[in-house]
């Protein structure tokens, strides 16, 4: 039985100058790389397969299997591209990881590159996090200086160049093929698959694209073994993961736990929903994963259980909303986001998100009519599964799930009634109960 929280990636975050190479090495960092360089690359791929590590960027695809899809070496280049474009609403794990401990990622990049035969790796970080980009540039430079990157790494004969690349503001670039187009200097629009990046990725060469947390988890697996990793979590959802609690919770933050922990357990650690309020709805893995409610508090947060309960584990971005929050407003704002970020490539998403937004705005404003809810569902039905990439699908998740659980709340907005909620009550600063004037100054607060 493992402990409720299992700090691995977070374990050095409270150290002095946690982002420095010396801090990371003092805590045992780069032991994994040294071990890896003495291992056959194929054995490393097998090790990661055996660990059961699944992609931490949302899809949950087995990382080792992804690496195993690369075709046999043909003498040409192969690439590793780290997806550090963390932008899914609610998701806030990779950015603090790279701020606090970028060396976890850099070591993972070195090991993974060695395992897949890559000699030039890229870290594509969103451009809207200036200091994180600085930390990554510095971390890579420090790693070069220490001989963890560059030519003939630690005398192994293995060469690796790493380029840290800043994006420029586009959610769609978190989709791996859009990211590759963006990294090639183009508009970030997704590519038709197949071919998958493993076969034809960056510059049409075999490419592995993995999320930050996935790659950062690799050094621990190499250092401690596949069994160590899989001793955490559930049978099919192994290992540790960052769970990000935000919203109407007493002490929001990052909680690194074995997969399979429940929101009830996490809320207990975080001091519960803010005082005097109760849970209304939440996202298990970002805004693109269907909403859950209080009835899902005990769903184990692993890929299988969340899927069986009708949503997706996604990025473990647990956004908590209490009873003061209007679900129509919340969903309407997410829909604005999807419409804004739709890349325009495919019609269902480009036009669909545009119309979803119009209808939600009019419902929110009280100008909606009885048929509007069904029009929303019909629109979603025409987007889900018909969009070119997952962005369109994700746009429908909050709408269909919120109508499923809160249809009466939508109806309460219709026919000129408008929003029954006071938005001030949801804020952190206007909800503090005011002392009645009669008691003011009567001693004690």
């Amino acid at each position: 039985m493992t402990d409720p929280l299992t700090p691995v990636l977070t374990d050095t975050w409270d150290a002095e100058s946690s982002w420095k190479l010396a801090t990371y090495e003092a805590a045992g960092g780069y032991a994994g790389l040294r071990a890896a360089l003495g291992t056959d690359p194929a054995d490393l791929v097998q090790l990661v397969k055996d660990s059961g590590l699944r992609g931490r960027g949302g899809a949950g695809f087995p990382a080792g299997m992804k690496w195993g899809f690369l075709p046999p070496p043909d003498g040409g280049p192969r690439y590793l591209v780290v997806n550090a474009d963390e932008s899914e609403p609610g998701t806030c794990k990779d950015i603090p990881l790279m701020m606090a401990s970028p060396q976890h990622l850099v070591e993972g990049v070195a090991i993974t590159s060695y395992a897949i035969g890559c000699h030039h790796a890229f870290i594509y970080v969103r451009g809207e996090v200036l200091h994180v980009y600085r930390r990554l540039l510095a971390a890579v430079r420090e790693a070069y200086e220490a001989g963890h990157l560059g030519t003939n790494i630690h005398g192994s004969g293995f060469d690796l160049e790493v380029t840290v690349h800043a994006g420029a503001g586009a959610y769609i670039c978190g989709e791996e093929t859009a990211l590759l187009d963006s990294l090639e200097g183009r508009r970030g629009q997704p590519r038709l698959k197949p071919p998958f990046p493993a076969v034809a990725g960056l510059y049409a060469r075999p490419t592995v694209v993995n999320n930050v947390e996935s790659i950062a988890s690799v050094p621990g697996i190499v250092a401690h073994g596949a069994d160590w990793f899989s001793s955490m979590g559930t049978e099919k959802s192994t290992g540790h993961g960052l769970f990000s609690l935000s919203g109407h919770v007493t002490r929001p933050g990052q909680f690194e736990a074995p997969l399979g922990i429940t929101l009830r357990e996490l809320l207990d650690l975080a001091g519960g929903v803010r005082e005097g309020h109760e849970l209304k709805f939440w996202t298990p893995g970002g805004s693109s994963t269907p909403l859950f409610t209080a009835e899902h508090l005990d769903v184990p947060l692993d890929y299988e259980s969340v899927g069986a309960a009708g949503s997706m584990l996604g990025t473990r971005a647990l956004q908590i909303f209490d009873e003061t929050t209007c679900v129509v407003r919340a969903v309407s704002r997410w829909t604005d986001f999807y419409a804004h970020e739709s890349c325009g490539k495919c019609t269902p998403c480009r036009e669909g998100t545009y119309w979803l937004k119009q209808i939600l705005h009019r419902i929110e404003a009280g100008a909606g009519e009885a048929g509007d809810i069904d029009v929303l569902l019909d629109l979603c039905d025409n987007i889900l599964g018909r969009a070119f990439c997952a962005l369109g699908d994700g746009a429908t998740s909050p709408i269909t799930s919120s109508i499923e659980y809160f249809r009466d709340e939508y109806e309460a907005h219709l026919d000129g009634r408008g929003c029954p909620f006071d938005p001030a009550r949801s804020t952190l600063f206007d909800d503090t109960p005011q002392a009645p004037p009669a008691l003011a100054g009567a001693g004690g607060h």
Binding site: S18, D85, M99, E128, L130, Q319, F337, C389
Partner: protein, 278 residues
């Protein structure tokens, strides 16, 4: 493409000194990638660092550097929200108004700032100091409501703290991010860093804020740790093998990807999202 130096016949309107510096920087950028075109995003950040926006000259410069047409460069520049097509203020003040921050107070903050500064979204104060923006989720939800100044974090804001912040920026005072460098640099300086030119400030500021460390704090308090290395995984109970051979029924190599692919892209639903990938 010819071997002739681009600077010799640039169609940009940059003066010779500016152009020479840009050409040298562009060479460094292009050298980072197997294919120089991969340097287009950093090149656009670079030209933005000169004039505070992506100007006609900036577009032409990028095109000349990469052997593209101005239209091809514009197509890319207009796709990304961080590239400005008109002069930006010295500081971009971005208020997160995506759902979670909006609900927690981001809407109220934006409204108050807009009223206080008398500008709307993507508009700049007459003195050129502040450009106000609504921004999307910036991966700091545990610090909501969040305001970004030149893409540095100002966590847990209120309408009062945000208006005070804006006033200090307008009066030329230094401001310190909650998590970031010791002070906020100018929009042009920021753009240069994003082009990949390190300003040497990575060691400023903290590694993490309170919420980032919340789980770790509790684990320390209660003595909770990850299993202690190799021995920890119950010896004698091998894990169920889950790695199908390629080509077998269980292999996803031959399986049609479920919606989102395995990558997660943004969106995804199925996964997705976040962009991630993986």
């Amino acid at each position: 493409m010819t071997a002739e130096p681009v600077g010799a016949r640039s169609r940009t309107g940059y003066d010779a000194e500016t152009l020479a510096a840009l050409v040298a920087d562009a060479e460094e950028i292009k050298g980072r990638y197997p294919d120089p075109r991969s340097g287009l995003l950093p090149l656009l950040h670079l030209v933005q660092s000169v004039e505070g926006y992506v100007s006609r000259d900036g577009i032409v410069f990028c095109a000349e550097q990469l052997g593209l047409t101005a239209a091809e460069v514009s197509a890319v520049a207009t796709f990304y929200t961080q590239y400005k097509r008109h002069p930006n203020g010295e500081y971009t003040v971005g208020v997160c108004t995506n759902t979670l921050c909006a609900v927690m107070g981001g809407d109220a903050i934006f409204d108050r700032l807009s009223q206080h500064l008398d500008v709307g979204h993507d508009e700049t104060t007459p003195d050129g100091s502040v450009t106000l923006e609504r921004v999307e989720c910036n991966a700091a939800c545990d610090y909501a409501p969040v305001v970004m100044v030149n893409w540095e974090f100002f966590d847990n804001q209120t309408p009062e703290s945000a208006t005070e912040l804006a006033d200090r920026l307008r009066s030329g005072e230094q401001v310190t991010p909650t998590r970031g460098a010791d002070s906020v640099c100018s929009f042009k300086q920021m753009s240069r860093v994003l082009a990949g030119f390190d300003d040497g400030r990575a060691d400023e500021g903290a590694g993490a804020g309170g919420p980032t460390l919340e789980g770790l704090r509790i684990a320390r308090e209660r003595g909770w740790t990850a299993p202690g290395g190799e021995q920890a995984g119950a010896p004698g109970t091998p894990r169920v093998e889950v790695t199908p051979e390629t080509g077998t029924g269980q292999s996803s190599a031959e399986r049609k990807p479920t919606t989102p692919s395995d990558d997660t892209g943004p969106a995804g639903q199925a996964d997705a999202k976040e962009g991630d990938d993986d």
